[in-house]
Assembly symmetry: C2
Homo-oligomer: 205 residues x 2
């Protein structure tokens, strides 16, 4: 693209570095900002800068938090002996939305993915193992997405925990509520049959 | 959405004000920035702020420009007697890409759209009429998109120019090159028959 303005070109270039935003979309977004009052651009820029420079991670669960200890870890009503291992804050938000879980979380910050250059040392696996070895945890629930990277990460952590007495579990895989059986993939359908549950317990959720 | 961090919430809120970006996408973009080096966020914020505060419009054609007079208006090889009326800089870029047009532009900055609260006074229609009345323009080419708002804007300007000797034209509407006839809408197909051109001249483009 040939821009008549260097300023415009720079703004579009920076904007198009965001994932899923190409040059055309970036130009549309930037032109939109130019039509809005200057304060909107100021506020967007300030919010991004402030977030990036002041953001903290909870020292216990590594979730994004404004305080040293996040609201969930600081809540005395949560069951601190159960820890749910998730990838990032979006998973925490999704599980919290169900209002079914009363334990704590441990945010890994990603999944082991050699293709993207992410190894175990870039994730918060070490503090998790230490937490378990300190004897504070009774059950670890793996809630990573069921992909090659997720399974690898689960298995890597599982191996390190084998010598500890901690109980490990993983969230149930099966047919989504409301889904038609004929459209389910065979792996999911197979697992849902293998891991079938007593009919009475299926009535509770 | 319930955020564990006010800083995160603010950044997501500001990001989701951009057109076509919902809360979920905004969260994905903001989390991406958190994973990148701090310098990327700094550069994005600085580029947006600089653009918004320092941007200029060419004093002749009102296109976005870093200088008082844009490169096109300042080019002595362009035919200054022909002026193409467009909506915004994207249209200028699209027409420039064809390398078929040697005249100048006039950027309106939008279309007349009572639904969005945009009237003639918010667009650069007045300077266009003044330019024509000063006798500097021989031909006006309307190149707004063929929508209700575009047609209204064309007609509004056309009416104001009726008493001047300026020639007015509009870009040709017809079947796109490479399109199949059976899929064309009837209005376009009808216009393409009414405005048929001598076969020899169709061989040039």
């Amino acid at each position: 693209m040939d821009f008549s303005s260097k300023l415009l070109e720079q703004a579009v270039d920076e904007m198009s570095q965001l994932p899923g935003i190409g040059k055309r979309t970036a130009l549309r977004l930037v032109l939109h900002l130019l039509k809005q009052p200057e304060s909107q651009t100021e506020q967007l820029a300030a919010a991004l800068q402030k977030l990036r420079s002041e953001i903290k991670l909870c020292k216990n669960c590594f979730n994004i938090s404004d305080t040293e200890l996040c609201d969930i870890c600081a809540n005395p009503n949560r069951i601190s002996e159960i820890v749910c291992v998730v990838e990032d804050i979006r998973d925490v938000m999704a599980i919290e939305n169900t209002a079914q879980y009363r334990g704590l979380y441990h945010v890994l910050g990603g999944k082991i993915s050699p293709m993207d250059g992410i190894g175990p040392s870039q994730l918060t696996i070490k503090p998790l193992i230490e937490k378990v070895k300190a004897g504070k945890v009774e059950e670890i629930i793996f809630a990573l997405s069921s992909t090659l990277e997720g399974d690898t990460t689960n298995f890597y952590i599982f191996r390190q925990l084998e010598e500890t007495p901690v109980k490990t579990s993983t969230i149930a895989r099966g047919i989504s509520v409301g889904d038609e059986l004929e459209y389910a993939d065979e792996v999911t359908l197979g697992r849902s049959i293998t891991n079938r549950v007593p009919f009475e317990s299926s009535m509770k959720g």
